[in-house]
Symmetry: C2
Subunit: 113 residues, 2 copies
DNA sequence: TCATTAAATAAGGAGTCGCTTACATGGCAG
DNA sequence: CTGCCATGTAAGCGACTCCTTATTTAATGA
């Protein structure tokens, strides 16, 4: 995936990993430190840090400093966008009308040549 | 991500690319051949073929042979699963209640469950 | 039969992903 | 200050992604 990916791609990419989805599930219970977050996983702390970076890049979490701890908080706005996209395309009945609009919107984020 | 990724990861991964999302949008208008699909994109046919393979692996399209053409059809079931996951996690009401619960637990100095 | 067309596959290259271990940063308690 | 603690960053490795061009497969129709 190219470096300058659009926002929606970043969100879907962030969701495309079971560890990151588990982190999101966990964060629904409230803000959590990185250590607490890493505890249930059979993987090193740096690996979790890197997953958090992906989630942060997608706007799905916020990290705030609290002494030597980082408190991770879930942000749901990107999930709203993802949900909107999926729901729009899973609806079979309003197909033709927004199809053109849809395509134009999608193609705008693309490399053209 | 190892080769044996779970189904949901495959779907999100397939959606994490603007070209593939545009293909899905296009297929909402009805079954389409690979050539028609490739036409609006500034990229080679094999590249489109490979994108279609990713979509097929995620269960998002079906390809049926029709003479020397392949007719691609959208399947929405995987989108249902993706939508279900996202909606479950973006539900703000649940999140708020869980958050309140979490706060109370913290105030009591209770350590986990 | 043979050339044409539609599409898939092969091979390869630049870049990214997900993990590791090792080291750096920065708050804190003695 | 000094040594812990929670975390982030660096470097490196193997696998994967996304694209390319070249080749292959398969159906068509003269």
């Amino acid at each position: 995936m190219a470096g300058a990916a659009d926002e929606l791609s970043l969100v879907f990419q962030a969701l495309a990993d079971p560890t990151r989805r588990a982190i999101i599930s966990r964060l629904r219970g409230g803000p959590t430190t990185v250590g607490e977050l890493a505890e249930p996983f059979a993987m090193s702390r740096p690996a979790i840090s890197q997953h958090l970076k992906v989630l942060e890049r997608a706007g799905l979490i916020e990290r705030t400093a609290d002494a030597q701890w980082r408190r991770c908080t879930l942000r749901t706005e990107p999930l709203d966008e993802a949900s909107a996209w999926v729901d729009r395309h899973r609806d079979e009945w309003n197909e033709r009308f927004d199809l053109l609009d849809e395509r134009l919107r999608e193609l705008k984020g693309q490399t053209d040549a």
